[in-house]
Structures are given as structure tokens and as C-alpha cells.
């Protein structure tokens, strides 16, 4: 089974990824599945509450994250796609999931995900990663923890420099 790097108690660990990514026309095989936003929003009967496995939604860069507003109950994971690592729309999607939609489940980064973006991703609220560059949890932790200070508020609750300065 493929693996996933998960944030865990301030560090990162490798866990088994139990989710299967379902194409829009594929039948629900049961178990943990991730479906597209369109399929999720279509109210596909197969995916009704009460199915035994967990449910995830994947967001393509052009998807409107706010379409999930009020519909996230019962969703275990949102997989934000980075078709190219240069495509930064996923950072906004994750941040809004956390801060505007109040999503508390897993937000995973999938696609062209590189350790050099780990810090930004964690700050935007991602807590699970499928790196494309072979990075393991140790590399991920090193990359994500590089910066002792940050200048802005984001989705991670870290105190920005201006708050640290006022705190003395």
C-alpha cells in the first residue's frame, strides 16, 4: 500500500494510505475512497452517508474550494492537487479550507509535491503529503521546520514576527 507523510504530534511520520482515488465513472468499491469535487457535489447515491469506508474529496487547481462550504461533514480528507509544483492555487485552497470553511479533517497535498514547499504547505494548513521527490518524514520535518520565525498570519496558528515583538 502506498505511503503518506502525516503531521503527528509536532513531527512527521509515515502512515499507510488507505484511500483509493476513484475516477468519476468508476463504481464505488467500498473502503476509503477519494472522489472528484464534481462527483462529490453531484450527490452520487453510492457515496451516501452510511457507507462503511471513509470519504475524501479531491480538489483540482481550478475547483472552487468554497463549493464545499457547509458540506464537509463526513468528509475525512481533502486532497489538494498540484499538477505542477509551480501552480500555487492549492495553497489558497488549503488555507481557505482551514480558516474560512473550518475544516478539521485531513488536508493532503498530492501531485508534484516537493520538500522545498513543505514549510509553506504546513503554514497553509496541509497535514498530509505524498511527496514526488522521494522525501521521507525526516527530510520533510527538516524542510518544514527550517524557519524559526514567520512574518504573516496563516492557517497554522503560528505567531507572526509582529506578535512575537509585542510579546517581548
Amino acid at each position: 500500500m502506498p505511503t503518506l507523510i502525516k503531521a503527528d504530534a509536532g513531527g512527521f511520520v509515515t502512515v499507510e494510505d488507505t484511500f483509493t482515488v476513484l475516477e468519476d465513472d468508476a463504481p464505488d468499491p467500498g473502503g476509503d475512497v477519494i472522489v472528484s469535487l464534481a462527483r462529490f457535489l453531484s450527490g452520487d447515491g453510492d457515496l451516501a452517508a452510511g457507507r462503511s469506508g471513509r470519504l475524501g474529496v479531491r480538489l483540482a487547481p481550478e475547483d472552487d474550494v468554497e463549493a464545499l462550504e457547509g458540506r464537509l461533514e463526513g468528509v475525512s480528507t481533502v486532497a489538494v492537487e498540484f499538477p505542477k509544483f509551480r501552480d500555487g492555487r492549492g495553497f489558497t485552497a488549503a488555507r481557505l479550507l482551514r480558516t474560512r470553511l473550518g475544516f478539521r479533517g485531513e488536508v493532503r497535498a498530492v501531485g508534484d509535491v516537493l520538500r522545498d514547499q513543505a514549510g509553506f504547505m504546513v503554514r497553509c494548513g496541509f497535514d498530509a503529503f505524498i511527496p514526488a521527490d522521494g522525501a521521507g518524514p525526516a527530510e520533510w520535518a527538516e524542510a518544514a521546520g527550517r524557519h524559526r520565525h514567520v512574518y504573516q498570519r496563516a492557517a497554522d496558528g503560528r505567531a507572526p514576527a509582529f506578535a512575537e515583538r509585542q510579546g517581548g
Binding site: 500555487g88 495553497f91 509553506f120 497553509c124 527550517r146 524557519h147 504573516q152 496563516a154 506578535a163 515583538r165
Partner: protein, 550 residues
């Protein structure tokens, strides 16, 4: 001036360590050039025609003498003894070895400098009025907001992978010395009806292939709401800006596709949702403001022998006429240092010259040095009684060319001499024009005339906003130059209009001469070149340049 505190230094140290590790991975073969490219670009490291180039940020164009000496040191140790100030008020070193790049970044960090976000699709160095804190016509010091923007935009977790690069300008004077209307965002500081401070917000200006003068999307934004508003603009852009075509990815394309009003509505709706959570607290703004309150000014308005020298020495008088500007305080002046010596490369400065500027700033200029987007330097606070001594020292170092805003004060990009993107040379064109108008009487008689030269359509030389713009194009392997007239990067911002067919390189200076000749014939009392052109239209100029061709 703002000084880094322990937090700022730690951010820089951590970022430098990160880049050192990335270079190590590249040199060890763990990263391919394709994977490394965006990482090095995040740190201002370009691969040019002949070598790596490192672009060092000069945040809002402000440098201390210690920093200037640090740059001189790098020029000597790691480059060929000089550096090049750019139209982004940054400095470039053109002859860098990759393996030494981390050491250079360490040397920069030792003087609180860096190359963070000097390239890549992120928020770049903010442009400020180079006369900030000194200009007689300023409402208040825009550097306070520039420094706050510097911090807010540094390593921004959400906005470091935008569709394209992003540039912000801030000015607080009615006379715009930042080219705010051709930035992605231009912030013009305004006084509110209630006496408060705010900004007129311009979005979607730009140059490149599709030049736009940016529209105003909000006429007054209370200053304390600046950062939530910037977040809203950047978020709308990050989500909706085009990513399918690099030439259509700047925010100007989004703004013009939606229309300024529809774009503004999107921003306002997003802003509403963000609320004050997105703002920087007043206490932090006040902390920054305190760093810019200059306690060292003398109340003494005396000017020593300034007037006597000026009356007695014509060369000094010429320097004063062209390179000295009015300061907000009596007894002080703003000294412009031209990096446009006749026959020199615009923006280039040797390590020894950097040291001279650093010394003068220390002795006579309150330790304050500015870089301008027109590729010159400024000593913003010089007592008039010291201007003569400053001038003598600049002159001895080849830095006293009295040509600010005159025809030989030319902006030029590095062009085909360095740049992998260029179609044609720009530097030698600038040099040739400057030589033609070398006689200072002649240049002064012509008056304000801004020539800007780009070696390709990316427009790093700002040709679109040149009073005379010159764009290098490639025609079947030969360098040709297209002339535009009537551009302006100032408060009357405008994009220049193409005059006629492109010219071969050996006809460019003659064409400029012909344009100048037509202006001198046509102008009425007190008219600048731009005024005459706007009155007459381009017919007399077209005739002057292309008459032979008929």
C-alpha cells in the same frame, strides 16, 4: 533607517541555510537543473549567457554605508569588481560561480542583505520613492509601509507560487518617482477627509508585451486596512490569474479581461471575508515608523558658502541645477548621483565607487543611500554647506555627471551583452546616444527627456514609458530598434506610441538626434519634450526621422 532586529536576522539566516542545502543537493546531483531552476530563482540566481547572475535585493532602494561596502566587497571577491543597479532598485552581479553563491549569500546576510524573492513568481522587492523622508512635496514617509510590505511579503506561504511575478510601488508625493501606474499594484498615499492616512490603489499596470497603465480600483483605502486589502488582491490573482500562457499571466491581463470594475468587486468581496484578521497591528506599524524618524537633522538653516561657490564655479552650478533637489528641511538638499557617466554602462558602479558613495553617506548624508528605478543613486539628506565637498569627491570618482533627467540619463537593460532573453544589445545604444549629447550645455538646452531602452519585449528597460522608447528586435538575425514616443512612468503615466518602422542599429542615434531637432524647432516657451509632443502629435517627429526614406 529601519534596522534588522533578531527576528529579521534569524529569518535571513534560516533562508540562507536552506539555499545552501539546495545548492549542495544540486552540486551533488540530487537535483536536476530543471528541479533546481525554480529554487535558485527564488534566491535571485539566474543562468545568463556567460555565467550565473545574482540579483541582490535592495528593499525599497534603501542602503546603509555598511551595506554598500558589503556590496563592494562582494564585487571584488566574487565578481569582476563592479555591480549593476537595475530598474527594480536591486543590484546584480554578473559573473558569479554557482559553488560560491552560498558564500555570497552569507556575506550579504552579514550586512543584512539577501537575494530573497528577487526573481520567481512571487512578490518582488517593493519600489519606493527614492526621495522618501526627504522630498519637500511628500505627505508622509512611504518607507514605513514599504518595510511593512517587505515583511508581509517575505516567504509568504500562500503567495510564493503566483501565476507570475508581482511588483508593488508606494509613493507619497504628488510627483510620482516610482512609476506606480505601471506596477502590478501602485499605492499612492493620500490624506483622507478625516485627516487620516490612506492609499489610492492602482492594480494591473505593467510593461512587457502588453503594456497597461493601471486603473484605480479604490480611491481611498484607510492605511490600517492595507494588508487585508493586499491579501484580497493577491488571493483573487492567485486563484484566477492565467497560468496557461506565461505572456498572459500577469495581473494586468486578469484586470483587463474582467474589467477594472468587476475586478474591484471581486477584491472587495474577498476583502470583506478576510476582515481585520488580515491586517498588521498598529503597534507594529508604529514600531517601524519609529525607525524612520530621523533625529539627526539640524535646525540650522545656514548654507555656508554654498551660494558663493555656486556663483563662482559654473561646473558646480551645473551640478546643482541638475542633480540637487529640494529637501523638506531648510539647510538640506537631496543629491542625485548619476550612474550614467557618458560612455559608461547605465547603472554600473565599480567597487571603488561604491566605497566613495558609502564614505560620503557616512560623512555628509546621515548614513542613508537610495537606489532609484532610473538606475541612479541618491544621498537624500546632505546639508547645503557640504554639497560642494560631496560634488568634488563624486567628481574625483567619476560620479558627478550632471545629467539627471536629461537626455543622457538613459535607462537600459543589460540586453544581449548579458541576458539570455535579449534580442538585441541595449548598452551600446545608450552609450552611443549619450556620447552624441555629451556636451552638457546641449543636454541642458534640451531639458527633461527620458530615453529608455529594452533589448527585448520583456521591457526591463521600461521603453514603453520612455519619452523616447527604444526596443531592440531581431530581424532575421540582425538587431533592429523600434522607436516609441510619448511614454511616461510619472503621475501622467502613458504608454508610448510606435513612431514607424524599426531602424538598424547604426541609424538609432541619428533618429534620436532628428527627434530632438524636431522638438527644438516646434517647442514653445517652457515646454518639455513631452508637452510639445502632446501638443503637436507625432507628425513632425515622424517626418524628421523618416524623411529620407520617402
Amino acid at each position: 533607517m529601519y534596522r534588522y532586529d533578531a527576528v529579521d536576522r534569524a529569518v535571513l539566516a534560516d533562508r540562507t541555510a536552506e539555499f545552501r542545502d539546495q545548492v549542495r543537493r544540486r552540486l551533488a546531483g540530487e537535483l536536476t537543473e530543471d528541479q533546481f531552476k525554480p529554487l535558485r530563482l527564488m534566491n535571485g540566481l539566474y543562468l545568463q549567457l556567460h555565467a550565473y547572475m545574482l540579483r541582490v535585493a535592495v528593499p525599497y532602494g534603501s542602503l546603509s554605508p555598511v551595506q554598500m561596502r558589503g556590496l563592494a566587497d562582494i564585487a571584488r571577491r566574487f565578481d569582476r569588481g563592479y555591480g549593476h543597479f537595475t530598474t527594480r532598485t536591486n543590484i546584480q552581479f554578473n559573473w558569479i560561480r554557482l559553488a560560491e553563491a552560498p558564500d555570497i549569500l552569507d556575506a550579504l546576510a552579514a550586512v543584512d542583505l539577501h537575494a530573497i524573492q528577487t526573481s520567481g513568481n512571487c512578490i518582488r522587492n517593493v519600489t519606493a520613492d527614492p526621495y522618501a523622508g526627504a522630498a519637500a512635496d511628500e505627505l508622509e514617509d512611504p518607507r514605513v509601509w514599504c518595510e511593512a510590505i517587505r515583511q508581509w511579503s517575505s516567504l509568504h506561504p500562500e503567495f510564493s507560487f503566483l501565476p507570475r511575478k508581482f511588483k508593488i510601488a508606494v509613493t507619497a508625493s504628488p510627483h510620482d518617482r516610482t512609476a506606480a501606474r505601471v506596477h502590478d499594484i501602485g499605492l499612492l498615499l493620500r490624506r483622507g477627509r478625516d485627516g487620516g492616512t490612506g492609499f489610492e490603489v492602482i492594480v494591473g499596470g505593467g510593461m512587457g508585451r502588453t503594456p497597461h497603465v493601471g486603473p484605480t480600483i479604490r480611491s481611498y483605502l484607510p492605511a490600517e486596512r492595507l494588508f487585508s486589502y493586499l491579501e484580497a488582491i493577491l488571493r483573487v490573482y492567485n486563484r484566477h490569474g492565467r497560468r496557461d500562457n506565461i505572456y498572459k499571466a500577469r495581473i494586468k491581463i486578469l484586470v483587463s479581461a474582467l474589467g477594472a470594475e468587476a475586478f474591484a468587486r471581486e477584491v472587495e468581496a474577498e476583502w470583506e471575508k478576510i476582515g481585520t484578521e488580515g491586517d498588521v497591528p498598529a503597534a507594529e506599524i508604529e514600531r517601524i515608523r519609529a525607525a524612520f524618524t530621523n533625529p539627526d537633522f539640524l535646525a540650522d538653516p545656514s548654507t555656508g558658502d554654498f551660494e558663493a561657490r555656486r556663483a563662482a564655479e559654473p561646473a558646480f552650478a551645473r551640478f546643482v541645477r541638475n542633480n540637487l533637489k529640494a529637501h523638506v528641511r531648510p539647510g538640506y538638499g537631496i543629491v542625485d548621483i548619476s550612474l550614467k557617466g557618458i560612455g559608461e554602462t547605465p547603472g554600473d558602479i565599480s567597487a571603488d565607487q561604491m566605497d566613495v558613495v558609502a564614505d560620503l553617506a557616512e560623512r555628509f548624508g546621515q548614513g542613508d543611500i537610495r537606489a532609484t528605478h532610473e538606475q541612479n543613486l541618491v544621498l537624500p539628506h546632505v546639508r547645503l554647506e557640504h554639497v560642494h565637498e560631496v560634488w568634488k569627491a563624486l567628481d574625483a570618482a567619476g560620479l558627478a555627471t550632471p545629467n539627471i533627467n536629461l537626455i543622457s540619463d538613459i535607462i537600459a537593460c543589460p540586453g544581449l551583452d548579458y541576458c539570455a532573453l535579449a534580442n538585441a544589445r541595449a548598452i551600446c545604444v545608450a552609450q552611443d546616444i549619450a556620447r552624441r549629447f555629451e556636451a552638457p550645455e546641449k543636454a541642458e538646452a534640451i531639458g527633461e527627456l527620458k530615453i529608455k531602452i529594452s533589448g527585448c519585449i520583456n521591457a526591463c528597460g521600461h521603453h514603453h514609458v520612455g519619452h523616447i522608447g527604444i526596443l531592440g528586435v531581431d530581424k532575421k538575425g540582425e538587431e533592429f530598434y523600434q522607436l516609441t514616443l510619448g511614454g511616461s512612468g510619472a503621475e501622467d503615466a502613458a504608454v508610448g506610441k510606435i513612431l514607424g518602422p524599426a531602424l538598424p542599429i547604426d541609424r538609432v542615434t541619428d533618429a534620436v538626434d532628428a527627434i530632438v531637432g524636431a522638438y527644438l524647432r516646434e517647442r514653445r516657451d517652457g515646454e518639455r519634450f513631452l508637452d510639445t509632443l502632446r501638443r503637436t502629435g507625432d507628425a513632425p517627429f515622424k517626418e524628421a526621422v523618416y524623411a529620407d526614406a520617402h
